[in-house]
Symmetry: C2
Subunit: 254 residues, 2 copies
């Protein structure tokens, strides 16, 4: 299976960092974005930018930093945006409905697919978003977490939110799955019959309830999701057991 | 609404870092875990531990580091575990089925609730998990991401996986929602009638299709999810408009 493409509409989703203090977080956020297929980073009044520290932490995502748009106010980062999500972990006395990344993402994806520009807005590391900044957004998003220790690092929050977006983008991990043909019901049943016959043949059923034993074995092998190759290996083993039992083969330890 | 408790069964879910090289990642992973209510960290053959760097990056999660269990082999970290998930981003020639964190999590939560011990196993920053390590796990988990840049940092991967677990833990963000009573259908309709009457009264409908205009307004205010308080503010405004129109009030700019 071929490696899938990052869908084009992700270009319509931007990450906005409002007044970030630590250059390292800008770099880590860029890396987090790129791992999830996002490239458009806006920086509102960053304390330090560009910087070597940001470049180092961005690792292979320096291109995201190079294309970053630096603006003096949040309003300028949102001019052409229809839906802006304020990421917040505090209780806000605002009537904007609060939702989780998972609840919000389908709408964001749908709008981005329609060509609208959407934004995820993250506040300063220490102070978060100001009331004024939150009021410029039309969605309030909170990442669920430990109510007693809500200390999600800025870049970690970007990672979680962009992961959530990517996981709704329609790109699956199927291309990473190993290929292997699942055995059919007939093949599994053929193996179970062979096992039954072998257990009988070597006298394993003596003084045991063979029917009950085979029912357990059948349940196990049906549950295991056997591949054709595994069935072949096990049937080869059973054949060898029968040959040994019939005296056609020398035991290795003879 | 009261702050919810972290559910007790999360204690049955452990994070295992196999051969981590960078002390900073151990600290960031501990912080990531604690933000998502997890506390049990196992370190297999860490290059450096304990360390000041890990403590610094753990921030308020130093307790997780202090309780961390250091073991010489992965097998020892998994002895009492029933389900161990190997986190991997590479295509593996293994027939263990590959799934995403979202697909895997319900099973992990159910087992932890039943008292089973489950583990999420993360490999070395540079080399990932060895074949031998992966074979000691019975699930293969891949975080979906940009197929062209899969460079998720170790602690970021821990954050995403633990976020996914927490988001299935049943703890909601309801306690963070601002309280505000949603207006009933009758209240919204009462407001719309009042608006209609006001627009008529001030002559806004002259040469306009009033019925069509009100239909648009009704759609808008029904969609907006109005709160009772907002209805009250707007009806107060309409009353004032009518008083002004009737000449009962002086305009501010007179």
């Amino acid at each position: 299976m071929n490696k899938p493409q990052v869908p084009d509409f992700l270009k319509n989703i931007r990450v906005v960092l409002a007044r970030p203090s630590h250059p390292g977080n800008i770099g880590s956020a860029a890396r987090a974005m790129k791992t999830m297929g996002l490239t458009r980073l806006y920086l509102v009044e960053p304390k330090t930018f560009p910087s070597d520290e940001a470049n180092t932490l961005a690792s292979g995502a320096v291109d995201v930093l190079e294309q970053a748009v630096v603006v003096p106010t949040l309003a300028e980062a949102l001019t052409d945006v229809t839906v802006a999500c304020a990421l917040t972990s505090r209780r806000r006395e605002l009537t904007t409905p609060l939702s989780t990344p998972r609840e919000t993402t389908p709408e964001l994806i749908a709008r981005a697919q329609d060509g609208e520009q959407v934004a995820m807005v993250f506040g300063n590391e220490t102070f978060g978003l100001s009331i004024d900044e939150v009021e410029q957004c039309n969605r309030l998003v909170t990442i669920p977490g430990n109510p007693d220790y809500f200390s999600l690092n800025l870049a970690m929050a970007v990672q979680v939110m962009t992961y959530e977006l990517f996981s709704h983008s329609g790109v699956t991990v199927d291309y990473l799955r190993a290929e292997g043909e699942t055995a059919t019901r007939g093949e599994v049943e053929g193996f179970c019959g062979h096992l039954d016959q072998t257990l009988e043949h070597i006298g394993y059923y003596r003084r045991r309830n063979g029917e009950r034993l085979m029912r357990r074995m059948r349940t196990l092998f049906n549950r295991a999701g056997m591949l054709r190759e595994e069935v072949d290996i096990l049937r080869g083993f059973l054949k060898q057991v029968q040959r040994v039992a019939d005296g056609h083969v020398q035991h290795d330890d003879d």
